[in-house]
């Protein structure tokens, strides 16, 4: 059976058993219509504190981009190339900015009690992002293949081993740490960031505290 494009919607509505249709419906329902990229925000969204969320996000973009350039050159490139060393410096400083902005964003949201109005999962996903970001940066320091990596590995192993995790996550194995740093943990950061942003767009920006009784 064939159908014209303008007939598809009604035909699909009549096919509730279609997995593709159901998945599309779930995806489309994640964020209210028009709220994925709205051109307007509630009137109370008017403070510099709101900038730190997007600054954290853009820092992450620079972190990933500079990391990708480092990956092009390989593990040893930044030790022997002035350009590579500069890219590594950009990577380091964008990470420092990322954490700085993230901490201000986190405490800003704390003082706004931003978990109100069914936003607990947004808060939790943000905290998980903070934690997994620390792990990602830690594996980065272990992957530098220099004196710092040697010392951080020698010291860090005691902490990791003390809870039994060292049996699976060997900080003295730079090959394993590098793969965690460039694949597994960034994947976690990316997915959690996506979840966090979807949740923010789904619920919208949390209203002021004393606006609670207005609704």
């Amino acid at each position: 059976m064939t159908a014209r494009t303008d007939e598809l919607t009604s035909l699909e509505t009549d096919d509730p058993g279609n997995w593709t249709t159901r998945l599309r419906g779930r995806i489309e329902g994640l964020v209210p219509a028009g709220q994925a990229l709205p051109a307007r925000q509630p009137v109370y969204v008017a403070s510099w504190i709101y900038i730190f969320g997007v600054l954290t996000l853009t820092s992450l973009v620079v972190v990933i981009a500079s990391g990708c350039v480092l990956a092009l050159g390989g593990v040893q490139w930044w030790h022997v190339s002035s350009l590579g060393h500069y890219v590594n410096s950009v990577h380091l400083w964008s990470v420092e900015l990322f954490f700085g902005f993230m901490v201000v964003h986190l405490w800003g949201k704390f003082w706004m009690a931003a978990w109100r109005g069914k936003r607990a999962l947004t808060w939790i996903s943000g905290m998980m992002l903070f934690g997994i970001s620390i792990g990602t940066s830690f594996t980065g320091f272990l992957s530098q293949s220099n004196f710092s990596s040697q010392w951080i590995g020698a010291e860090g192993k005691d902490g990791i081993n003390s809870i039994g995790a060292g049996a699976f996550f060997n900080v003295l194995n730079p090959g394993q740490m590098l793969l965690w740093h460039v694949v597994l943990l960034p994947l976690g950061v990316g997915l959690l960031t996506l979840l966090h942003i979807i949740l923010v767009r789904r619920r919208g920006v949390v209203p002021p505290l004393d606006a609670e009784l207005e609704g």
Binding site: V62, I134, W151
Partner: protein, 318 residues
């Protein structure tokens, strides 16, 4: 906050807001900041320590460490999981956290010496020493290595008198050391050639990539720690969050590092497990703060939010 009465944000009046422009401007700001900070402050890259460097800078320490590995008295020899079963490892209260992970990276400390010498020695005296060691009983091996370690001894430090030869291998008196002096000096000779890292890392595989053995050997000696402490990177110097020189390291780990500086953690044998446990607890508290009465009300009691939404409140009053 007995009941959450927060209204739907989509029901409020709106104002013009350009998310994409905000993102682009923020991206440019971060790019410029990162680029400028990188250009001005660069990033530290102090070369990795080599076994050859250790052998040349502190040969006595390398020989002492080798004897200790054979005697089973080094840190890694008595570490416990995940390397061996020589110790219970750290506990969190009654729970043997370290032991629970199991011995999944089995390492015999004597193999840190015998492995490289067995695989790469071209000196007949060293090969003979390896054969003599392997032919001896475990008790005999321990007696030889312990006697040699004791004979080397340690230099006077922190008010404690020197022991043995004061840590100077050349001054060790003759004794019943078996092949241990030849094995230790053989490891020193191999380290000086620059071949020790490869012998420990590759483990017979053309492609190396796992530095566990070489880092454990390095950490068992005093050379690595001495260099780190000289750069204020020691565990009691907030070392986990610092970097070499004046470069920023991981300042976001300040709280984790802080606990190591204070009692009871600074004097506890289970400090690592206890600090981990405490940090996990604090992280969970912060993560699930929306559900914890009292803690979740702090923003109401300390009205910093009035600064954030001051324009809204002013308009509302008017």
């Amino acid at each position: 906050m007995s009941r959450d009465r927060t209204p739907d944000s989509h029901d409020f009046p709106t104002r013009r807001y350009d998310l994409v422009k905000e993102f682009v401007i923020a991206l440019v700001v971060v790019l410029v900041l990162s680029g400028a900070l990188a250009a001005v402050f660069s990033s530290p890259d102090e070369k990795a320590i080599t076994m050859s460097g250790w052998a040349k800078a502190d040969p006595d320490n390398l020989v002492t460490t080798a004897a200790g590995e054979l005697a089973g008295t080094t840190t890694s020899a008595g570490y416990g999981a995940p390397y061996n079963t020589a110790a219970e490892g750290q506990k969190l209260g009654p729970i043997p956290m370290q032991k629970l992970g199991g011995v999944r990276i089995p390492i015999n400390s004597a193999d840190l010496v015998l492995g490289p010498l067995s695989n790469s020695s071209i000196d007949p005296a060293v090969s003979s020493a390896v054969a003599t060691w392997k032919a001896a009983t475990p008790d005999q091996q321990t007696k030889w290595a312990t006697a040699y370690s004791d004979a080397i001894g340690t230099a006077a430090a922190d008010g404690a008198p020197a022991t043995g030869a004061g840590g100077e291998v050349a001054k060790v008196k003759p004794g019943e050391y078996g092949p241990v002096p030849a094995l230790s000096s053989g490891l020193l000779a191999l380290a000086k050639t620059g071949g020790l890292e490869g012998a420990l890392t590759s483990s017979g595989n053309f492609y190396g990539g796992d530095q566990t053995k070489s880092l454990l050997l390095l950490a068992d000696g005093a050379y690595l720690e001495d260099l780190a402490v000289a750069q204020n990177l020691g565990g009691d110097q907030w070392g986990m969050m610092n970097e070499v020189g004046n470069a920023p390291g991981q300042p976001w780990m300040w709280l984790y590092t802080f606990w190591y500086q204070v009692k009871p953690f600074s004097t506890s044998d289970n400090a690592d497990a206890q600090v981990w446990g405490l940090m996990m607890l604090l992280t969970l508290l912060l993560m699930f703060l929306p559900f914890i009465p009292g803690l979740r009300s702090i923003p109401r009691w300390i009205p910093i939010h009035r600064l954030v939404w001051r324009n809204y409140y002013r308009t509302k009053r008017a």
